[in-house]
Symmetry: C2
């Protein structure tokens, strides 16, 4: 149970309150009866209409909430309603109607139009939402919407499935003499408990920023954070990251890629990176937090492909679970990534706070001290550096080991 | 420990003797001291020069034996020397020299030229071959080369690493009034015990067939057999399938794609398919044999991509380990295969000899009997059928579940 490492970063302060930290945002979460006991509903509201941006799963099969949001993301948005326990995925025409109905019910509660509401669901695939329970639940819960830290934490809980801890953060920074805040909640990947699929993240900010720039900043920072983590390589039908920006910070509107934009983008990147790592720390059955950095690739795309191929390799993951310095599995996974590179110029090392073990240099194996390697690999956090000599591009991916518990959690459900 | 299912097939008889069943082939295997106890050397010899064909790993990193064989596969070949225990992969310039030296040592023993010898290694990556031991071992072992079934079984053993049983088959068929034989030995995939990588298969035949047709028949049948199986999705640096055809059956030479060619191709396909399935049955920690068939895809390539995406999904594999009818994981993996298809026209069913469970029809979930589903899924062999409505193409992939033992075998080595 790691709480993650909040590293201090220049000009950005970490604050409390997650998604209600930014001005004008309200949230809450509750148990309405979709799950047996744990919270299963989260509501987010902005006092004023907010600009929205989103990135969605690349899976060919996209759940009704994803489809709804994709066709509403360019609208001004007043709120988001999220349920956990049932994913409303692979649910046919009924599922499509239910996603719309969810928006409609919540819209009525907060005096908005259904086209100003985004929706999200996570949980079992192929089961219909219990609309009576959901409708009653939303109506009972919206009255608790407020700006307290306690409500924010309820909101962080309402979106969880097999996650073992809530994932939240909020930061503040100064833009044009005004304090701008960004808050976020997320739930874990690890397509879990039968199709307790889905990586979800909801970000709020009171920054005043144009929609196309908000979308650009989101897309780019998601590519380097959420899109570089892997628990098991499975991509769900419901994945989404949504950001709402309501402009209430009163900063000079960001409408070009100026210094203010770069500041905002950097803070958003920090938030996304932090949350992505939190998700890995809470991956199913995780005993190791792994970082794979590839340097010296010909292109950034090459570097990403190689890093992801390594972080996804079951053989690499099991080796790390066993604290085994099997560097052969690393170069092997790099080799089948689809990227061409000169192996005879490659170097590999393992490292962390305990030490640094070089295992391959210029394509030749290095005789290393097994006892020292074991010390390094026994740690929870292990970094792998693969240096190529193809160019200047680099990329980093994060993942976890593959343990008995992963098999247990994913194999024993329902039986 | 399954011995696999040899299904009878028209015009093809299963016989004994594996790679020495075809006329003019000699083989043996022995323990020479690379491994602690088990056999670690296999020798194959053809009485006369044989036409060769091969398919090799697509990994960017190709071990020295792979490189040697690729540049010699068009030569007339007299023999193959294979060691297990050390893969001679990622071994720098020394490794390249050692692969050539291996060929040279064996060539001298059987009065051939080193350029008439193919080589293969499987085992740990990044460790140099002990050339003294190997040289002495080859010289001591070649004298035992003969055409007995006992020697053939020794040859089948010499190439194994973590495999738990030998994989062998031989068949005969009639071509142009002559009896033609095909024999094969193979070793398992499951990139295993630290990089006890590698899927290897060696096929011998006394058929008289032109090299380009031999290569074509091999490539096509490997694509539908070995290339459609998956234990863990990891592709090794040493994978290869080699076939030697020495023409001693005396059949009318096959030099066009006539009826004789089709007969030969069909028998070779049978041999490759049988061996590929044997490898799955012996996958690491396997408790289930899984078959995924995709029908109604737009193209064969689409069908293959989807079938492989499903068979490689850790979530699908763990669900099968747990006998859980999680069809959501199947459609989800199909969805992220990269192939576009209309999910609202998809059907999914599980079946085997015990029964047939429809779980999805035209994109709508089917209410199925959980108890009946459990009965079907408790069996060792489970088939999944995914029907699309995009076209007429189909493909089948084979794989295994992901069990505690997979993690144990791959995580606990050396520690």
């Amino acid at each position: 149970m790691s709480s993650g490492y909040k590293t201090e970063i220049k000009d950005i302060n970490i604050i409390s309150g997650n998604i209600v930290a930014p001005e004008g945002f309200f949230a809450t979460g509750s148990h309405i009866g979709i799950k047996r006991k744990r919270k299963d509903l989260t509501l987010i509201k902005s006092e004023v209409s907010a600009t929205a941006a989103g990135v969605f799963t690349q899976n060919t099969i996209q759940a009704p909430p994803v489809l709804w949001n994709k066709s509403h993301i360019n609208n001004k948005i007043r709120g988001i309603v999220i349920n956990s326990g049932i994913a409303n995925s692979c649910t046919g025409k009924t599922g499509v109607k239910n996603a719309e109905l969810m928006a409609e019910i919540y819209a009525e509660c907060i005096n908005a139009d259904k086209h100003e509401i985004l929706v999200s669901s996570t949980g079992v695939i192929g089961v219909q939402l219990p609309m009576e329970i959901l409708s009653q639940g939303i109506k009972n819960t919206f009255q608790q919407l407020d700006r307290s830290e306690k409500s924010a934490q309820k909101a962080a809980k309402g979106i969880l499935t097999t996650d073992t801890f809530i994932k939240e953060i909020a930061v503040e920074l100064e833009i044009g003499g005004k304090t701008v805040k960004i808050g976020a909640i997320a739930k874990g990947s690890g397509m879990i408990h039968p199709n307790m699929a889905t990586m979800l993240a909801f970000v709020t900010t009171d920054a005043d920023i144009e929609q196309n720039l908000l979308q650009k900043a989101l897309k780019e920072t998601v590519d380097d954070s959420y899109n570089m983590i892997s628990v098991d390589g499975d991509t769900s039908t419901n994945d989404m990251v949504i950001v709402l920006a309501n402009g209430m910070a009163g900063n000079p509107a960001i409408n070009t890629e100026n210094e203010d934009y770069q500041k905002f983008r950097k803070a958003l990147e920090y938030v996304n990176m932090y949350m992505a790592k939190q998700i890995i720390h809470d991956g199913e059955g995780v005993t190791k937090f792994l970082e794979v950095e590839v340097r010296g690739a010909a292109t950034k795309d090459d570097a990403k492909k190689i890093a992801k191929s390594i972080i996804n390799s079951n053989l690499f993951k099991t080796a790390m679970f066993g604290a085994d310095a099997n560097w052969g599995r690393i170069v092997c996974a790099a080799g089948y990534s689809g990227v061409k590179f000169d192996f005879t110029k490659s170097c590999v090392e393992f490292y962390n706070e305990i030490g640094r073990i070089k295992v391959l240099t210029e394509g030749e194996p290095v005789l290393f001290n097994e006892a020292e390697a074991l010390k390094v690999l026994k740690e929870r956090e292990i970094k792998v550096l693969l240096k190529l000599q193809e160019g200047d591009a680099s990329a980093t991916a994060w993942g976890c080991d593959l343990s008995y518990d992963y098999v247990k959690i994913n194999g024993e459900y329902r039986t």
